[in-house]
Symmetry: none
Subunit: 141 residues, 4 copies
């Protein structure tokens, strides 16, 4: 009987690296953003609301991160009618808005990043830049 299994968890140091990379990308783009990083249990690890970003995006950015962390794929790919059913059934936490991307290490999803306050495309671009920085950092010795 297998009672236990090994797991890999994102550290807060890793979360801060992702947050900083997202902030840098948003600054370069000139669009202030809300940036959230959650772990595989959908619990918040790190968050930043940049000057001028929308306060209502605090919640939506966090939910994008949650959705990416549980699905293992970027947000936005669900059929529109199913997306609303999923949102309703999860009290709004599963969202199909663009801007959520999973954080993967060693083939395992260890969390997600969610970005919100720009257009969906801008949000996604910032999230992707942060994920790219996270992948590069994993390759460093």
């Amino acid at each position: 009987m297998t009672l236990l299994r090994p797991s890999t968890k994102l550290t807060h140091t890793g979360a801060l690296l992702v947050l900083a990379a997202a902030e840098e990308a948003a600054r370069a783009m000139g669009v202030p953003q809300c940036i959230a990083v959650v772990d595989e249990g959908c619990n918040l690890l790190a968050f930043l609301r940049m000057d001028g970003a929308r306060v209502l995006s605090i919640e939506s950015a966090t939910r994008k991160a949650m959705t990416a962390a549980v699905t293992g794929t970027p947000t936005g790919g669900i059929a529109p009618d199913k997306a609303l059913l999923l949102a309703e059934a999860t009290s709004g936490r599963m969202t199909n808005l663009l801007g959520g991307v999973p954080l993967v290490a060693g083939g395992q999803v260890v969390g997600g990043i969610g970005v919100g306050s720009g257009t969906g495309e801008q949000d996604l671009e910032v999230a992707q830049a942060a994920v790219a920085a996270f992948m590069r950092a994993q390759e460093q010795p």
Copy 2:
């Protein structure tokens, strides 16, 4: 390092002026309304439910004000499918219903007004009348 930044806040006197102008416009139109004014942080500043206005519009009018305050544009301009996703992802607080208009001073969004209980067009007309009064009051010495 920039720890602080100057900002402008709407006073409660300003909020009452907006509320009174909206009430007058609604009375002139003969349509009782719920009228909400929030600041830039989406916190309620002033509210009035006129005799005969719908009690379920207390919440929707307030959310229209919030949405206008965070987006800096009148509510109603979002594509229908995205509007529902945004509503879900913000626990219903971001709404695409007509009747929310931002309050702007010196080029900065300082809050929003939301009006609800009439048709969307009536709600918007009342909100616009209130914003016009707010702009006129700023020009007075």
Copy 3:
């Protein structure tokens, strides 16, 4: 008629400085913490959950920050019976747990920091260390 009033807002750069100082103090103490920074409108600006910190402290740390931001004083000074009434009347957001301290600049409360996951005394010590760093940073040219 005074429609507007000048105000000072905490930047996200300032919030990150506070967050980093709190993390450093918590690390020096050997106690992982949840650390939240909110602005004067009680909206989240920055957050970090350190490795090993309690996930249920995500919410309580944030509420400590909110309480300090609205009262302008460290949390924990309210009489026990009144503290419970205030918690109930604010849906749990106003808390008397130790670990919330206001962030002040130029005599104005610009936000609050809340720390949670250790003992109340440890939480408060970390919050105070972060506030001290924030005050020192303001004095630098």
Copy 4:
């Protein structure tokens, strides 16, 4: 069979009179307040948050008004242990914090005012001043 019964409702004009009287009393006292007026159905009629009043008191002031409207007596008179049970059983809406006073006309409770952001005694004093103004206005021809 008596299917219907006559009732008296507070108008929004009456609610604004109460709001203005409370604001004046708070200003004279030098303590900014959140002021809420609800009808006998606990639905918000009018609200004002004065400059500098606590954003977390938006909710608690409203709940004080609700509690006074349903009990027909000023808040604060319930035994402490029962007060917490009532708060829990009403999701925090029934509160024993000082500062809620019923609005009565012709022997019937037509609503309540709730004031919050000062000490409990200050909140109550402002609410009582507003109720006194409401009683005086009823006596005028």
